[in-house]
Amino acid sequence: MQKKLAASFLLVTFLCTAVAVAVPRLQPDPMWSAALVVCCDLAIGLGGAWLVSWLVVRRIKQLATAASLISNGDLTLAVDIEGTDETADLARSFSTMLVNLLNVLIEVESGAAQIYSSALTLSRTSEEVNAATAGIAEATQAIARGADAQADDVSRTSALTRDLTGSADRVAEAATTVQEAAEEASLRANTGAAAARRAAEGIVDLKNAVDASADAVEGFQVRAEEIGKIVTFIVSLAEQTHLLAINATIEASRAGDEARGFAVVAEEVRRLADHVRGFADQIGSVTDEIRGGSHVLARSIRESVNAAGAARDLVERAAASFDGVLDATRGTTDRSHAIARSVDEQRRLARQVDEALERIVRIARDNARGTEETSTATSGQTASMHALSAAAHELARTSDQMKSLIGTFRLRN
C-alpha cells in the first residue's frame, strides 16, 4: 500500500510538474497559464486523491461488508485475500479469524447439542435415580420396620425358647420323679409279688382247712339228722305215753274211788310225758336250728371254698400282674433315663438356640439401625438427586439457550 501511495504521489507530482511546464508553453498569457496550471494541478490532485482513497478504501469496504455480514451472524462468506498489501494481510487475518470463529462456533454448537442431550439424559437419569432412590428409601424403611419386627419376633421366639428350656427343666424334674416313682413301684411290685405268692400259698392252706371244716360240718349235719330222728322217736314215745296216761286216767275214773291213786299216778305219767314232749320239742327246735345253722354253715363253707379258689386265682393273677408291673416299671425306668438324657440334650440345644436368637436380635437391631442410616443417607441422596435434576434442567435450558444463540449464526450454506 505504501508503494502504491508513493507511486500515486509521484505520479501526481509528475503530472503536476508536467502541467506546470507544459501549460506556460502552450498558454502564453501568464494569467491564463497560471489559471490553467492551477486547475490542471487541482484536477490531478483530486484525481490522485481519489485514486489513493480508492486503493485504500476498496479492500476496507470489502472487510466492512464482511464484518457487517458477520455481525448479522453470517459466517459463510468468503473474504478476498488476494494481494500483498496491508489490506490483503488484513483480509487474510480477517478470513483466518472468520474461519477460526466459524470452527469454534461449529464446535460450540456441537458441544451445546451434546450438552443438551447429555443434560436431558442426565435429567432423565437423575429422575430415574430419584424414583429408584424413593423406592430404595421405601424399601429401606420397610426393611427397617421388618428388621424391628424380626427383632421383636426373635425376642418373642427367644422368650419362648427360654420357656421351652423351663419346660424342659420341668420335664426333666418330672422324668426324675417318674424314675423315682418307677423305682419305688418296682420295689413295691417286688414286695407285692412276694406277698401275693405268700398269699396264694396261704389261700391254699386256708382252702385245705376250710375243706376239712366243710367235711366236719357235713359230718355234724349227719349227726344232727340222727339227733332229729331220735327226737322224733322220743316225741312219738311221749305222745304215746301221753295217750296211755289219758286212757289210764279214763280207766281209773271208771274204776271209782279205789283207783283214785292210780288216776293220780296216771296224771303224773301224763305230765311227765308232756314234759318229755316239751323237752323233746325243745331238743327238736335246737336240733333244727343246729341243722339249719350247719346247713348254712356248710353252704357258707362251700362258698368260702369256692371264694378261696377264686381268691387264689385272683392272687395268682395279681402276682402275674405284679410281674407285668415289674416289667413295665423296668421299661418306665429305661424310658425315664432316655427322657432325662433327651431333655438334657434339648436343654443344651435350647440354650444354643437362645444364644443364636440373641445374636440374631443384635444383628436385626444393627440392621435396623443401619437401615435407618441408609434411609437417612438415601433421603440425603434424594435431595442431592433433586438438586442434580434441577441442575440438569438448568443445564439443558442453558444449552438450549446456547443453541438458540448459536442458531443466530449462519455457519453453513
Partner: protein, 126 residues
C-alpha cells in the same frame, strides 16, 4: 269233775271223762255212702268198727278244723260205737262248773260238750 279238754279253732272245749271210753290215734277212715255229712266214715278200733264223727262240723266255729291225723275220742256206754275226731293235743284235768254250758279248768273257761247231744245232732244233720 274230771274232764278231757282241747283247743279247736278259736275255742276251748271240754268233755266229761266218764263219757269217753278211750283216746287213740286216728287210723284209716273209710267213707260210708249215704251217711250224714258229719259222719266221716268208719274206723277200726280193737277189731270193732266205729263211726267217726267230724266234731268241727258240729261246732259253730268256721275256723274249727282238725290239723294232722288227729285222735279218735271213742265214746263210752251206749255211744261206744261212735268216736269224735279231735286234735291230737288232748289233755286230762279237773274242772269246776261255771256258767251254763261252761267249765273252768285252771282258771280258763271251756265249752262243756254234751256227747249224746252231739251224736244225735250228727245223726240228724243233713
Amino acid at each position: 269233775m274230771d274232764l278231757l279238754y282241747f283247743q279247736l279253732g278259736g275255742g276251748a272245749y271240754a268233755i266229761a271223762l266218764e263219757a269217753i271210753a278211750d283216746v287213740a290215734p286216728a287210723g284209716p277212715i273209710y267213707p260210708v255212702p249215704l251217711s250224714p255229712p258229719a259222719v266221716l266214715g268208719l274206723a277200726e278200733r280193737r277189731g270193732r268198727p266205729i263211726a267217726v264223727i267230724d266234731l268241727p262240723s258240729l261246732l259253730d266255729d268256721p275256723k274249727a278244723t282238725v290239723r294232722g291225723a288227729g285222735h279218735l275220742m271213742r265214746l263210752a256206754g251206749p255211744l261206744a260205737g261212735a268216736a269224735f275226731l279231735v286234735p291230737a293235743a288232748v289233755l286230762s284235768g279237773t274242772g269246776t262248773p261255771a256258767r251254763s254250758g261252761h267249765v273252768s279248768i285252771e282258771g280258763r273257761l271251756h265249752v262243756l260238750l254234751d256227747a249224746e247231744a252231739l251224736v244225735k245232732r250228727a245223726a240228724a244233720f243233713n
